[in-house]
């Protein structure tokens, strides 16, 4: 009976100590990884800084101007070339369209059967309610 207790204790001892041993090595390993990753981040940030400086250097205005002069037929902007949206002329509409533009007519849905064609009032449409009233009077 007693040896069982001893064996149990010994087993527990071995398990716990080996567990701790592994844990400690794992922590060391992770610490090393962390250090590596941090070093990599630092290197990458430095590389980004270098690339940013390179980008700024390549985008110097004189460089860009030389390139545009080479590839694009651009001249100084003359005042007449600058315009805003308001300067655009208003679109001309034909008179027949403007006559029915008073009221927007909903488009017919193709699936719906229109039972009755409502005749347009002779003087043009005015209000959406006008049609209904007109029909009731009929």
């Amino acid at each position: 009976m007693k040896w069982k207790v001893y064996a149990l204790i010994a087993l527990a001892f071995v398990t716990v100590s080996s567990g701790l041993y592994k844990l400690s090595y794992e922590v060391q390993q992770l610490n090393g990884d962390l250090r590596n990753i941090r070093a990599q981040i630092k290197d990458n940030r430095q590389a980004i800084q270098v690339l940013k400086a390179e980008w700024a250097y390549r985008n110097r205005p004189d460089n860009l101007q030389a390139l545009t002069a080479k590839y694009l037929p651009l001249l100084l902007v003359a005042p007449y070339q600058v315009a805003s949206l308001e300067d655009l002329p208003e679109r001309e509409l034909s008179p027949e369209i403007t006559s029915i533009l008073g009221v927007p007519i909903p488009r017919r849905k193709p699936r719906l059967e229109i039972i009755e064609e409502v005749p347009l009032p002779p003087q043009g449409l005015h209000l959406a309610t006008y049609q209904v009233q007109d029909r009731d009077l009929d």
Partner: protein, 572 residues
């Protein structure tokens, strides 16, 4: 089977045995208790972790976070975030000559990848009887790789930091530069050295300047073009926002490359725009006229007789473009009459003149975030004679920066703001103090427009941008005498004049006339065209919409009666 025998002890032997056993049990229980406690603690630790005493303990054990942006100086950006200065980790190449096997071969190989080295000098270095010699400081990553690929024994790299200015000479005077230890020694780098620097207890803070790289480039290009055309020995220019007093562009030529400042002479590092003070000439007439109108000593309808030169205290005040007749105030301004302006200032008097120029910040060292700021040179006494000469810009030396901030306060509705080279936030309230009334400011806008439309500044007209300005041609004072053949020509302008947004100042040092200017070298011929070209370039960039200058609305807004009494020839 062996019969089990029990030994029985009696008497003293039994007692001794009993005692021994008791002692053993006591010791055993004690040890068992100790081990039990230890085992319990062990299990407890394994299960729950370290428990309460974590923080301090773990902080000691935990690896220190490596500073990700290692102790570098913070970058400097322009107003739109374009990089102007940055610190890079570079490598320097050094050699241990005692480990170099064949100095000649090594030198040849190195020169084949780093071209700007002298092979013979390098060979001598590598053959020397030493343990250390620099081959080249701050080599590029490409060079580093190339050298590494050569695989020459005895060559090593050392990591270093270097301040890099990708824009080269473009913003040199404004940004300044640092010494070999990355300490700012000029410009923004010096003024904001503490803020940019990264030390053990703080990380440097990046700076956003008010300068707009596109404007700066246009300004520098136009100035250097015209500097060459007129063979000037120097040039400077400023573009400034009139409402926030932000400096969008500031150039002083000749300039230098801050990446290698030691290769440039000292005078190219001199910032003409802030540190240099000059007698500005007729541009001061804008201040005199504003002052006279503000103090109501004269109205637009009035004028002065400019027929004869003024003689005072042995001096003679003459006109450069003499009209030899009575001139109204707008005419005096338009034709840049020294005689008329001097009389106008005389009526105001030296005391009020001085106080007015002081309000415009022309008599004190301007406040701006740069170490190189020049103080104005005031005359030793300030009486009627001085007032008369200063009225047309002689006798008082100010820097271009002071001139442009004073002009912007005149045209922006009459409020003076301290100039700044740092970006202001959109909608930030800018404090200022009123120097002239809105009405005077409005009249001066029209007068300055008149100069460009009909007067001495016609060459500055950038069509569509309603440029208004004032020419200024001053003789250089050398050893207490004015040199007739050395001029400083300047043109200070604002646009668009119906609602001024930007002030543009251009200045040439000792321009020479040429065939295209019919030999003239006054400001109207030499510096006004700079402004015209510059404004048509930067107008679209700054979002100023060109207007039709001939339209009725603009004509009405810019109208100013001239009240001329010129006798027109009778026409039939």
């Amino acid at each position: 089977m062996v019969e089990q025998q029990t030994i029985r002890l009696e008497g003293s032997a039994k007692e001794a045995l009993e005692l021994g056993r008791n002692r053993l049990v006591v010791a055993g229980v004690l040890f068992a208790f100790c081990f039990f406690v230890l085992a319990g603690r062990l299990v407890g630790l394994a299960l729950t972790g370290i428990g309460q005493e974590t923080d301090e303990h773990v902080a000691e054990v935990r690896p220190k976070p490596t500073q990700v942006v290692s102790g570098v100086r913070a970058p400097i950006y322009d107003r739109s975030g374009k990089l102007l200065a940055v610190t890079l980790d570079t490598v320097s190449l050094f050699a241990d000559p005692s480990k170099v096997l064949d100095a000649r071969e090594a030198a040849e190989k190195i020169v084949s990848v780093i071209e700007d080295l002298d092979p013979e000098q390098l060979e001598r270095k590598l053959a020397a009887n030493r343990n250390f010699t620099w081959v080249k400081r701050h080599i590029t990553p490409t060079e580093q790789k190339a050298v590494n690929d050569l695989g020459i024994p005895g060559l090593f790299f050392r990591e270093e930091e270097k301040r890099v200015y990708p824009m080269g000479p473009l913003v040199s005077h404004l940004v300044g530069y640092t010494d070999i230890d990355n300490k700012g020694i000029a410009g923004i780098e010096k003024y904001f050295d503490d803020q940019l620097e990264t030390t053990d207890d703080k990380v440097g803070e990046p700076l956003y300047l008010s300068v707009d790289l596109r404007v700066q480039y246009a300004l520098r290009e136009e100035l250097s073009r015209f500097m060459t055309v007129f063979q000037a020995i120097g040039a400077s220019g400023i573009v400034m926002d009139v409402n926030s007093a932000e400096i969008l562009g500031m150039v002083s030529l000749p300039d230098f490359d801050p990446n290698r400042p030691q290769d440039f002479p000292k005078d190219s590092k001199f910032n003409k725009a802030t540190l240099g003070v000059y007698e500005m000439g007729s541009t001061f007439k804008a201040f005199t006229t504003a002052m006279a109108l503000e103090n109501r000593t004269v109205s637009l309808r009035d004028g002065y007789d400019a027929t004869d030169p003024i003689r005072i205290a042995g001096f003679r005040i003459r006109d450069d473009h003499p009209k030899k007749r009575w001139l109204s105030v707008p005419e005096i301004f338009m034709y840049s009459s020294n005689i008329g302006t001097a009389k106008m200032a005389e009526d105001v008097g030296p005391k009020r003149h001085r106080a007015f120029l002081d309000k415009l910040g022309l008599l004190r060292r301007p406040v701006v975030e740069l170490p190189e700021v020049g103080a104005p040179i005031l005359p030793p006494r300030w009486n009627t004679l001085e007032t008369m000469t200063i009225s047309y810009g002689h006798g008082l030396s100010v820097s271009p920066l002071q001139l442009s901030s004073a002009i912007s306060s005149i045209v922006n509705g009459g409020v003076f703001h301290n100039p700044t080279v740092l970006r202001r936030d959109v909608g930030e309230e800018v404090s200022g103090k009123r120097v002239v009334s809105k009405k005077t400011s409005n009249v001066l806008r029209r007068l300055m427009r008149l100069v460009v439309e009909k007067g001495t500044g016609r060459n500055a007209n950038a069509e569509g941008y309603l440029v208004g300005g004032k020419t200024g041609t001053a003789e250089k004072a050398v050893n207490g005498r004015y040199k007739r053949d050395a001029l400083v020509t300047s043109f200070v302008s604002a646009f668009p004049m119906n609602n001024p947004r930007y002030v543009v100042l251009a200045m040439l040092d000792e321009p020479k006339g040429n065939a295209s200017t019919h030999g003239f070298r006054s400001a109207g011929w030499t510096t006004a065209p700079i402004v015209a070209r510059l404004i048509s370039r930067i107008g679209p960039i700054l979002g100023v919409k060109p207007v039709d200058e001939e339209s009725d609305a603009i004509r009405k807004a810019m109208h100013i009666p001239v009240y001329s009494r010129e006798k027109k020839l009778a026409t039939f």
